[in-house]
Symmetry: C2
C-alpha cells in the first residue's frame, strides 16, 4: 500500500472552536480537496447528525477526479448486535467504498468513559469491522488514544489494533488523540508496534504539544502509509496535524512525491479557500502558506534576499503557491523601500534618494500614528503617488454626514455627501446597512455618472481594530477595508479617533486606488 | 552549565510582521519575563537603532529579580579593527554582563551576502569575542544558519563555532535561521558537532517547517543547555520557537525543573500580556496557552471529560494558568449546555429538561443567524436569564439616533437616546468618537443618575466581523464588545445587517450584564 493523504478537515477539523461548516461549504471543500490531490476525504459521521447524512447523499453527484470520500463512525454500541446498530447501518447506507471505524485503545477510556469491559470493547471492534468488510467495504481503523493507551497498558493497546487487523481493517491508524506525545517517545512506540503487528500503519496527531507535524513526520519516517490531518491544522483544542506543513515537507524535503508540481502550487490557495469558507481569519505566520511565511522585514535579511533568496528561504515560495514579500517598517532601511516600490510596480528611476528619504519619513510618521501599511498596500501605493507624481485626486470632498435612527428596534442609516467630480458639484444621498455602508453607497452613486465601471467594485471586508491607549491617550481605531472588482482585491487603511473618519479615509483610498487602475495610471 | 531559558521576544520576536514595540512596551515586557523566571532576556541590538540604545539605558533601573538582560550584535564589520567598530563599542556601553554575538556559519552567506573571504569571517568572530571577553563580558555565540551551513560545508561550519569557543564564547548556539530543518537531520548534525566541539551548545530554531518546537526539544534531548525562543513564537516569517510550548513540555513531560509551580502558572497570563502589548490578536488554538487549548466541543469528548479530565487533556490546564472550557454549539448536546450553565454559575436545579431544550433551540437559532456565543459568554448568560427567570430588564429603550458630520476633514459624532429607567423617562444626548462611542456615552450618561457605579466601567475593545454572504444573501456584521470594570472583563455580541444595530445590541448586553452583577443577581 502506497503512501496516502487522508484529510479530515470536514470531520475532525470542524470540531474546532468557532468552526461551523454548512452542507454547501462541505461540498465546496470536498471539490477543492479532490482537485488538490487528496486521496481520502473523511466527509463526516453519517450516524451523528442530519447534516452529515445529507452530505453523503449529495457528495455522490460531485464527480470527483481521484479522491475517495470516506465515512466515519464509532464501532457498534456496547451490548448491541451490529446489524441492529443504527450508526453502522447509516454508514452502509452512506454509499461510499471506504469507511473509518474508531475505537478506544486506552483501557482508562474503556473503563471510565465507555464504562464497559475490556473484552466487550474488543468484541465491538471485531464485530463492526467484520460486518462492514462482509458488506464489501474497505475499512480503516482509527485506534483512538493509542499512544496514551500504550503507555498505560501496552498489551491491551496492541490487542485492539491486532483485533482490528484480524477483522479485516486495511490500515491501523495510531491516534495521538490528546496531542501530548513527544516525537522521540512516539518513535519508540511505533518501532515496537511494527515488531508485533504486520498490517500497514497510519498516523493521526493532534497539536496540543505543538508537535503534531513532528509526530506525523516521525511516523512517516517509521513507515506509516496513511497520514491524517486537516487543512491549516483546523481542529478541536489546538487542532490536528496541519497538512499544509506535512505535505510540502514530505514532497520537498523527503523528496517523496505525493502531488504533481501543479497541484502543490495550489497549497496556499487551498489554505485560503478553506479558511475563508470556514469564515476564519487566515494565520499570516502559518508555515508555507501564511501571507508572512516568506516576508522579510529586517534590513539585513532584505538585502541578502535580494542578492540570493536561498539565503533566507528554506524553500522557493512559488513551489507552494506563495510569494516573497518585503515590508516597509521602522526596522527597514532604504533598501526595503526601494525593493517594495519596485514590487508595487513603480519605476525606481522616478525616485531620487531625497524622495525616498521623504517617503520613508512620511511612512514612519503615519506608522507612529497607528497606520500599518503591511496589510494595506493599496494605501501605500497611493501615498507614493500623492507624494511624488504631482498627483491630482479624482474628486474633492466638501463635506459629508451620516445619520442612523432606531425606532421599534429597527435601525435605518443614510448618508449625504457633497463633492466635486471632474469640475462638477455633486450633492447626493443614499441609504445603507449602517453609516459606513451608507457613505460607501453614496460615494459610489456620486461617481457612477462619471465612472460607470465602478458598479463592478464591492466592499468585501471591513475590519476595525481599537488601538490600545496604554499610555492613557485617547483610543484610536484603525479601519481596514478590502475591496474587490471580482478579478482582484485590494486593501486600504484609515486611522482616526473617530471610526467614521477612519472608515472614510480607507474608503477614499479604496476608490482612488481603483480609479488609478481604471484610468491606466497603474497597470 | 545548567539549562537556561533565553528569550528573544524583544529582539528577534519584534522582527515579525505587524509587530512594533515601543520603548515602554519593551520595558514592561522585560519586567514580566523576569518575574516569570526567564534567565536571559535579549533586549535588543544597541548598535542598530536609537530605540534599542535607549532601552539599555533605561533597563538598568528596573531592579530585575533574576534575569540577565543581554545585548545582541553582529561581529565587527569586515576589514575594520574591533576597537573602531561603533556597533561593538555601543555593545560595551550598553552596560550589561552578557552579550550575544552572531556570525555566519554558512559559506554561501559569507561569500554572497557578506561578500568577504571565509578567513575574514573567522577573524571577525575571533577578534570580536576576544575583545569583549577582555572587557570582562560573558559572550554567547549565535552561529547563524549553522545547520544549512553544515549541510553545505560541514568543515567550515564547525570551524566558525570552534573559533568562537577558542575566543572565549561560553555557549555556542546553533541556529536554524531559515527554519527548514527536520528534527531527525538536526539530531544527526548535533551528534556530530558534540563529537568535535566540547563547549556547551544552545539552540535557536525558526518555525518555517512547523518544527521549531520539535527541533528545540531534539536539541534539548541531545544536551543543549540554552534554549532560545519567543513568547507565543513571535518572530519573522513563521516565527521563532514558542517558549510557551517549549517550557511546559520540558518541565511537565521531561520532568526537568525550569520554574517554580507558581511561575509556570503565569504562562498563559504572560502570553496574553505580550500579545496584548504587541497589539496582536491572541491565537485561540495556541498549545498550552490558547483560549481553546483545553476547550471541548464534541459531545463525546465533553461527557468523557466530565467523568475524567485526563481522558482528553494531555496536562492539567491549571498548571500553565489555563482553564477547561466547554462550548455550546450545534455539535453538542444537552450534556454540554448543562455543564456550561453550571460553569457560568447557574444552579442546574433551576432548569427543567424542557427549559434546557428550549434554550438549546434558541441558541441554535441565533447561531444560524450569525451569533457566536463561544467568545461572548456574558450574552449567553443574559440569554439564559431572559428565557427562564421571569427576568425584568433594567431599562426600556424607546428610540435612539446618531449623527456624524464631517466638515473640513474633521468628523463630529453625537447620539440621542430616549429610554425609561426605573419608571422615569430619560431623553439624553452625548458626543463621542464615532457613532457607537457616542451611543455608549449617551447610554452611560442616562444610567449614571440611577447607577452611579457605572462610571467604573469602560468599553475596552470593539471588534467587527463581516459575515460572508457566500450564498448571495445580504452581508451581516457581528460585533463583539469587550468591557471592563478594571477587576474583570466580559464580552457581548450583536448581529445585524446594520452595524449600528449590532453594536447597540452588544452594548445593551454589556451594560445589562454589569447591572446583573452590580445588583447581585449574578454573584
Amino acid at each position: 500500500m502506497g503512501l496516502a493523504l487522508y484529510d479530515t478537515t470536514l470531520r475532525d477539523g470542524s470540531q474546532g472552536e468557532g468552526i461551523s461548516l454548512s452542507l454547501d461549504d462541505k461540498l465546496r471543500i470536498t471539490k477543492q480537496l479532490d482537485k488538490f490531490g487528496i486521496d481520502f476525504i473523511e466527509g463526516g459521521w453519517p450516524g451523528s447528525n442530519p447534516k452529515d447524512e445529507a452530505y453523503f447523499a449529495a457528495v455522490k453527484n460531485l464527480e470527483l477526479k481521484q479522491a475517495n470520500v470516506t465515512a466515519f463512525s464509532s464501532t457498534r454500541r456496547p451490548n448491541l448486535k451490529v446489524s441492529a446498530d443504527n450508526n453502522i447501518l447509516k454508514l452502509v447506507e452512506a454509499g461510499v467504498d471506504y469507511v473509518t471505524i474508531f475505537a478506544k485503545s486506552w483501557d482508562l477510556h474503556v473503563r471510565e468513559a465507555l464504562q464497559i469491559s475490556l473484552t466487550e470493547n474488543l468484541a465491538m471492534i471485531a464485530d463492526t469491522i467484520e460486518f462492514l468488510t462482509e458488506k464489501g467495504l474497505h475499512v480503516f481503523f482509527d485506534a483512538e488514544h493509542f499512544f496514551d493507551g500504550y503507555l498505560a497498558n501496552a498489551e491491551y493497546a496492541i490487542k485492539t489494533i491486532q483485533t482490528a487487523a484480524d477483522a479485516g481493517a486495511e490500515v491501523l491508524t495510531l491516534c495521538d488523540t490528546n496531542g501530548g506525545m513527544l516525537p522521540s517517545r512516539l518513535r519508540k512506540i511505533i518501532k515496537t508496534v511494527k515488531s508485533e503487528v504486520t498490517a500497514p500503519l497510519g498516523i493521526h496527531a493532534h497539536n496540543d504539544g505543538n508537535l503534531a507535524v513532528a509526530n506525523s513526520l516521525t511516523a512517516f519516517e517509521e513507515g506509516a502509509v496513511q497520514i491524517q490531518g486537516t487543512v491549516g491544522g483546523l481542529g478541536e483544542r489546538c487542532g490536528n496535524a496541519d497538512l499544509c506543513s506535512v505535505i510540502p515537507t514530505i514532497q520537498l524535503k523527503y523528496e517523496t512525491r505525493l502531488l504533481s508540481d501543479k497541484q502543490l502550487k495550489q497549497l496556499k490557495p487551498l489554505y485560503f479557500f478553506v479558511t475563508e469558507t470556514a469564515n476564519l481569519i487566515p494565520d499570516n505566520n502559518k508555515p508555507y502558506v501564511g501571507k508572512s511565511a516568506f516576508t522579510h522585514k529586517g534590513g539585513i535579511h532584505v538585502s541578502a534576499v535580494r542578492k540570493n533568496p536561498h539565503t533566507y528561504e528554506h524553500i522557493q515560495p512559488e513551489l507552494v503557491g506563495n510569494e516573497r514579500r518585503v515590508l516597509v517598517s521602522e526596522l527597514a532601511g532604504k533598501s526595503n523601500l526601494r525593493y517594495k516600490l519596485q514590487e508595487l510596480g513603480f519605476n525606481l528611476a522616478d525616485f531620487s534618494d531625497g524622495m525616498i528619504k521623504k517617503l520613508i519619513k512620511r511612512v514612519k510618521s503615519l506608522e507612529s500614528k497607528g497606520y500599518q501599511f503591511e496589510g494595506a498596500e493599496a494605501s501605500l501605493i497611493l501615498l507614493a503617488f500623492r507624494e511624488f507624481k504631482g498627483y491630482q485626486s479624482f474628486f474633492e470632498i466638501e463635506d459629508f454626514r451620516t445619520n442612523s435612527i432606531n425606532r421599534n428596534n429597527q435601525t435605518y442609516s443614510e448618508a449625504v455627501v457633497k463633492m466635486t467630480v471632474k469640475g462638477k458639484k455633486v450633492h447626493i444621498a443614499a441609504e445603507g446597512d449602517g453609516p459606513v455602508n451608507a457613505l460607501d453607497n453614496c460615494f459610489r452613486k456620486a461617481l457612477m455618472n462619471f465612472y460607470p465601471e465602478i458598479a463592478k467594485t464591492k466592499l468585501i471586508d471591513y475590519k476595525v481594530r481599537v488601538l490600545n491607549g496604554n499610555d492613557g491617550t485617547a483610543a484610536k481605531v484603525r479601519v481596514l477595508i478590502e475591496s474587490s472588482d471580482f478579478e482582484k482585491s485590494w486593501t486600504t487603511v484609515g486611522v482616526s479617533t473617530n471610526i467614521i473618519q477612519a472608515s472614510w479615509d480607507a474608503l477614499i483610498d479604496s476608490i482612488e486606488y481603483w480609479l488609478l487602475i481604471e484610468e491606466s495610471i497603474i497597470i
